[in-house]
């Protein structure tokens, strides 16, 4: 069935409610909500959530913003927790202790800190063991919850509290880890990189595929943070759009090892467009710092070209 945004929103009630305490203009709630909307209404979900912004602000006792079963787990174990519950569910189902006709889906949410850094081992383990689950990383590019410390998802040159740009260092000194690629290397059935743009078609369809693909799936979604990135709260959707149009955050999916780039900008915008509105990159626009923008652009170009090559290579006939 073709995607129809209005139908999806009208027919599928939100499974991530209002009344959560994420910041005004945060990019993550809309992502979580749309991912959960990809569930069939009759299916139940078990959600494991690593510590992070989303956890501390959606589950403040005695309130919960989740309408499905929800487990808060420590920073490093969303993957392990989710896979454990999935294994228990499979066992109970086999023993006939759960109704045959009811389906439960397993979804883990983690920020980039809980996924790229601290939770990487448990995520890797869960994926390798082949559990029927989806891990969704909402990547806001730093430890925003604790005060904007750099993570391995933070792009090079970004100004954070632990990589302050000044006369000694030019912001973060290392390049961003490419987690989606690491997950592809696990040779799991489904890996995708997405973002919330336009009518959310890309995100919804990838979430649906991830949830209803048997076996482990991984979804990496960029979720801008107005506070940490330093842009006005109302710019959320523009920032998302620029991330895609500059190829900073390419949209693609890898199904059984085959790459498919789901959106190729007709005209790739220069990376300045994405960097300019963000305060964390402000120092890059100072006179004498042009080399930073140049190197940033080179890195983006290289990764985009690699992706194009991978797509061509994995889709070759024979």
């Amino acid at each position: 069935m073709a995607y129809n945004l209005k139908e999806v929103i009208a027919e599928k009630p939100s499974r991530f409610t209002a009344g959560h305490r994420m910041c005004a203009g945060c990019g993550a709630p809309a992502v979580a909500r749309m991912v959960l909307r990809a569930l069939k209404p009759e299916d139940h979900a078990v959600i494991a959530n690593a510590t992070g912004c989303m956890e501390v602000s959606s589950f403040i006792y005695p309130y919960t913003a989740w309408t499905d079963s929800y487990i808060h787990t420590a920073f490093e174990c969303a993957g392990a927790t989710c896979s454990g519950v999935e294994a228990a569910y499979k066992s109970l189902k086999r023993q006939g202790k759960l109704p045959e006709d009811k389906e439960t889906k397993f979804i883990a949410f983690g920020g980039d800190g809980g996924t790229y850094d601290i939770g990487l081992q448990s995520l890797s383990g869960a994926m390798e063991r082949g559990h029927d689950m989806v891990y969704v990383c909402y990547d806001n590019g730093a430890y925003m919850n604790t005060g904007i410390q750099r993570s391995s998802a933070t792009p090079r040159f970004a100004d954070t509290t632990t990589s302050p740009a000044g006369s000694v260092i030019p912001g973060k000194m290392q390049s961003r880890k490419d987690l989606s690629e690491i997950m592809v290397s696990h040779h799991i059935p489904y890996v995708a990189q997405s973002i919330a743009v336009n009518n959310f078609k890309d995100l919804y369809e990838k979430a649906e595929k991830a949830i209803y693909t048997k076996g482990p799936a991984f979804l990496n979604v960029l979720a801008p943070c107005p506070r940490g990135w330093g842009y006005p709260t109302d710019m959320l959707m523009e920032i998302n759009k620029l991330a895609v149009e500059t190829c900073y955050w390419p949209l693609y999916e890898v199904v059984d090892g085959k790459y498919k780039i789901t959106y190729k900008p007709a005209k790739k915008l220069p990376i300045e467009e994405f960097l300019k509105p963000q305060k964390r990159f402000k120092h890059m626009f100072k006179p004498g710092n042009e080399w930073m923008i140049e190197e940033f652009q080179q890195e983006v170009d290289k990764r985009w070209q690699d992706l194009l090559d991978l797509e061509a290579m994995t889709n070759k006939e024979n």
């Binding site: 945004l5 209005k6 139908e7 929103i9 009208a10 027919e11 939100s14 499974r15 991530f16 409610t17 209002a18 009344g19 959560h20 305490r21 994420m22 910041c23 005004a24 203009g25 945060c26 990019g27 993550a28 709630p29 809309a30 909500r33 749309m34 959606s58 006792y61 005695p62 309130y63 919960t64 913003a65 989740w66 309408t67 499905d68 079963s69 929800y70 919330a196 336009n198 009518n199 959310f200 107005p226 006005p232 709260t233 109302d234 710019m235 959320l236 959707m237 523009e238």
Partner: protein, 97 residues
């Protein structure tokens, strides 16, 4: 609802909460300093605004049409006003007409 004023004898066993999605009872509308105003005559029901709301404060009916804002939750981030191509959402300072 359990809060800091709940007497101990009224607590559930283990302080458990039995209701999923009860964050709805926590109103975040008082965070707002600017307020989106919906101008329904200009609205073409294009559907760009309601999925972007981080706070689910733009209700959509079964008729697939958006309704006026739910100010109980709107935090006034302004994302909806910025994505509206028809100028059907205006941001106004809270307390001013």
């Amino acid at each position: 609802m359990i809060d800091k004023n709940t007497p101990a004898k009224d607590l559930t066993i283990g302080g458990n909460i039995y209701e999923a999605g009860n964050a709805r009872e926590f109103k975040t509308g008082d965070w707002r300093s600017i307020r989106p105003v919906y101008i329904s005559e200009k609205c073409k029901q294009c559907g760009l605004c309601f999925p972007v709301c981080p706070d689910d404060a733009i209700p959509v009916g079964k008729d697939q049409l958006r309704k006026d804002f739910n100010y109980d939750y709107c935090k006034g981030c302004g994302v909806c006003a910025k994505v509206c191509p028809f100028g059907a959402i205006e941001m106004k300072t809270e307390g001013e007409d």
